[in-house]
Symmetry: D2
Subunit: 348 residues, 4 copies
Amino acid sequence: MPAHRRLRTAIVGATGYTGMELVRLLCRHPAVELSAITSESRTGEYYSNLYPHFAKSVSNILVSQDQLADYDLDLIFLALPHKASMGFVRQHGIDRAPLIDLSADFRLQNIATWEDWYGTEHTCREHLADAVYGLPELYRPAISEARLVANPGCYPTSSILPLAPLIKAGLVSPRGIVIDAKSGVTGAGYKPKPSTHYPTVNEGFSAYGLKRHRHTPEMEEILTRHSGSNVTLQLTPHLLPVNRGILSTIYAAAVNGVTEERLKQVLHSAYDKEPFIRLVDHPPSLDNVRGSNFCDICVALDERTGIVLVVSVIDNLVKGAAGQAVQNMNIMFGIEETTGLGAIPLSP
Amino acid sequence: MPAHRRLRTAIVGATGYTGMELVRLLCRHPAVELSAITSESRTGEYYSNLYPHFAKSVSNILVSQDQLADYDLDLIFLALPHKASMGFVRQHGIDRAPLIDLSADFRLQNIATWEDWYGTEHTCREHLADAVYGLPELYRPAISEARLVANPGCYPTSSILPLAPLIKAGLVSPRGIVIDAKSGVTGAGYKPKPSTHYPTVNEGFSAYGLKRHRHTPEMEEILTRHSGSNVTLQLTPHLLPVNRGILSTIYAAAVNGVTEERLKQVLHSAYDKEPFIRLVDHPPSLDNVRGSNFCDICVALDERTGIVLVVSVIDNLVKGAAGQAVQNMNIMFGIEETTGLGAIPLSP
Amino acid sequence: MPAHRRLRTAIVGATGYTGMELVRLLCRHPAVELSAITSESRTGEYYSNLYPHFAKSVSNILVSQDQLADYDLDLIFLALPHKASMGFVRQHGIDRAPLIDLSADFRLQNIATWEDWYGTEHTCREHLADAVYGLPELYRPAISEARLVANPGCYPTSSILPLAPLIKAGLVSPRGIVIDAKSGVTGAGYKPKPSTHYPTVNEGFSAYGLKRHRHTPEMEEILTRHSGSNVTLQLTPHLLPVNRGILSTIYAAAVNGVTEERLKQVLHSAYDKEPFIRLVDHPPSLDNVRGSNFCDICVALDERTGIVLVVSVIDNLVKGAAGQAVQNMNIMFGIEETTGLGAIPLSP
Amino acid sequence: MPAHRRLRTAIVGATGYTGMELVRLLCRHPAVELSAITSESRTGEYYSNLYPHFAKSVSNILVSQDQLADYDLDLIFLALPHKASMGFVRQHGIDRAPLIDLSADFRLQNIATWEDWYGTEHTCREHLADAVYGLPELYRPAISEARLVANPGCYPTSSILPLAPLIKAGLVSPRGIVIDAKSGVTGAGYKPKPSTHYPTVNEGFSAYGLKRHRHTPEMEEILTRHSGSNVTLQLTPHLLPVNRGILSTIYAAAVNGVTEERLKQVLHSAYDKEPFIRLVDHPPSLDNVRGSNFCDICVALDERTGIVLVVSVIDNLVKGAAGQAVQNMNIMFGIEETTGLGAIPLSP
């Protein structure tokens, strides 16, 4: 690709929140042309008719997936539901254009675990080996050469980022980690459901998916790579009455002799040069990162109990989805990594 | 007291949320007369001028604490800040009228622990031995004979209720319990602060008081009574963008051989006859209990990890404060325990 | 009906918010037995299984409408959608038991206007003449003798209460009245829709139904009765990001020579003895009335512009629906009017 | 100023919401250097220590106003409280650097009216004649030559933009206009107050400043310039439980013979080429514009009543304050007007 022309990109399935967020970021990215946005149900309509906040900013007309063949694309983002993505990859392959898949379909290498937790057969095993887990702070070199990036889940992003360096450095036990995670409602999708009806969520708060949230094996597989032994953890997600954001409160047993200073030192050493990771002294709030690609992390050691406490926050739609995908794109195409991701958090 | 006349009660310090909630409950209690409400700063004003939602319902004029001597009282509720309550008790004693203290001043029997966590000297040690911890489901007989009831904290209520039977039955380990607790903003008090300014809280969410929330030793002391050994636990409170409610997500290591069925059985056996405790099959939401004296509890065992999960919800101002105080009053005076506490949760 | 036995009541259609609120009020009403709750789609289920916040309070099993014949009922509440109510009345008549209909089907006497605004034929004209508009503060005597009460709409309740006395006294012009009304989301119903999806409503705010909200002719017809001439008004409803409550800001041209004092005098004279109407000096907030049957009203005259300003608040599910229905029931059966409606507003 | 170097700017008073929003926009503006940020109370501290969401983005250390003399500034933004701004202008004049004042001190030309509504003497009358009202869509040429721009109020921006063309074209009566306006809580300022305490605002909604909001004369003075006669209007502001945004619902009497089509035509003709004004067919919601500089406008005519309805939305901190200030800066310095203001609304 000549340096002087813009990357030609397409978003497959842009009517959900993740797709909308990709449009928001890509349409202002200086090195990108948003060539095509697909929707099977709204083909032919102006995207800004569906989502009027894009008026005077996005002039795309929705096309069908079949019409993608008409575009000479440099990169395709898949913002499809879980299980639909692997169908697309199986059908189109990865040779024509590299892909960044925002679904869960290529995140696990252990296919048996994937099939167990997702309750279905994996229909595109042939490309699993091509998939690189798209967490830039951990896998930047592999991402830069990937043709298929599996963009991480939102809960895993918020938990793996703080835990991986601590586990790798042997400061916390890899077993019995508790992740008490809380997500804004956009994490539950664009489609209205009883559980996301306004009067149900507002002034409410509840846990869901006890024992069986599908991000559990994703976290375990990735963290195990950074540990000497198998990582097991307990993830309990909760639905917060806010639009955006994930806050994860993490509890892990400190290894003997570890100090709070040492915990901070290891995280600083891992992340001080990272543009999107910020270590903070006070427990961060969701609005520290809203609308931005930052992940803010606070760590503490309770010497009374020997438990390491971590609190991390991200915007689930940005660092937890679309922003991370754009960061991966930048890495894949040699664009400065923060390009198009410079927005200051919208606070308040 | 003759059976036919109403209990004469006073609320000392009714300008905070807890005091307001006591007024709300007592002014509709069929066996109670709300004889006096005190406020040193607003003496002489109509209570309903301060809080116009009480207009046409509450006609009290605020009096000073000194004026209480003019009333022939059967019971005094102390809705004072921590440390102010013990001053009142020291000055007035417990002989003239029994007291229900909603502060933390008489909740711990271990005075050294109290002084350590509250950072001050306890100035009314002479009445510590008189104080009964006012959690009716655990201490009903002692409450019925008490002249000084230490009404439990909101976080402890939500955690001790589910944990006490499980610990007593030896089903979970008393060590390493994690309590990830989330509270609505009324728990942070009536006085405006930067941390409770609307744009700070709304669309935000954060942890606070890492490692050092004062309800920790309260939970540990009470639970230790029900265990064969010392209970230690990790409490992390969070501020939720809602007005009312506490949800506690509790993680404890299952003792070998325990089943989910056994956990449920023990809780059912403890609470099926309790009017305000409800065991539920699905993780409860805050609005299941809003405005009511209920505590809803859900328990599960993750066999994969061996961790017992408990989710409990209460309204922090009702079962977590004023409602529990009224329940204690009913027990102390032989009134049917649910009297004045029959309100159905206001949902949504 | 003997004085000593409880009223036997049924709620037809109790799976929406209005029906749930009727259950909440009736199950604690000391003079009422909630004999039957109907649902065609959930017949045979425990009501508290559908709505777990009713556990340990409501033991009813849902029955079908056909099964109502098995009950000896004193009163039936219709909490059906608009247009379904008139079908019920046509089929069952009003002789067996009096009815309080919470839909719009019998609120207008002008059938042509009704058919125009509701876009359908009225299928039960034979009972229109029996219907009494159930706004107790204006029509108490007729309600006490009615066999069919048309319970008012939520917006009309909030607007007619302040306007009727002012119009009747000739203090404001009956023409060109502007009602800028804002409602919480429970007013939009129990069924999830894109417009009530949490992320759509939260941090949002918008007008809807410009020019054509169906409560417009209801207000005009009732207010015209209290005026010497036809009342026309402009109603613009908005959707507020709160669960409960309606606030109406009303603008009307002052008649020459009117003073603010005179406006207040007329409202005081109309409402000082009413248990549920409160005139307030400062603009009221929704939470002054949440969960209660109160309507709070503030009136002012801007002498600079000659415009009379009124702000009124109600809880749309209580005084705007179920609470008003219970008030009507009390009047119909000679029960003290505030019975079962004494709850203090839940604030905050 | 050479074309190739960045504008050197300072923000005086950046610890309130308006100042924070200026920092957010200016620190990412490609033609601007944010040379100095002042705060008298926090001089010497890192700005990002006060507001941690700016970490890794803004490295400024706060300076005092006195230190501004050390900077060679091209432009100064005043984000000071009302009345403090005129003191600054009086002291420093407008010769050293042009000023954009975000307070109300220079918005009215009629000094008697200003002193009446603001209740104080104007202490900098000598610069009133220099002040240009900074609403770019109406006063672009004057702004481009101004040395003192009076940045409009948030309510006036939302109301003047739709009304000015309609009044100028003679389509609506200049008298008796009703503006029912609703603002998010950031409009009430950064400092915690009882009225902005979370539990007071959340699930609440109320009007304030009946009859006497200070933006009334600002709207009247500006709109009168565009009318053949004096404009009088009734502004009622309300406090919405959201962080950002103003929605104004406007009612004006249609002049005889006006059609809805004609109203739309006039607005389209005025605004189709404006980058930040969007005419929409459906009533807009606050989240259509959140975080952006857009103003969305919907107009309708109710032929039944002869009333013209307008609904407009802006983000009070962007188009209602800091964004508009940046737009003015761009105009003053010949920078493309949308530079630094391209952010897509953050929805949801």
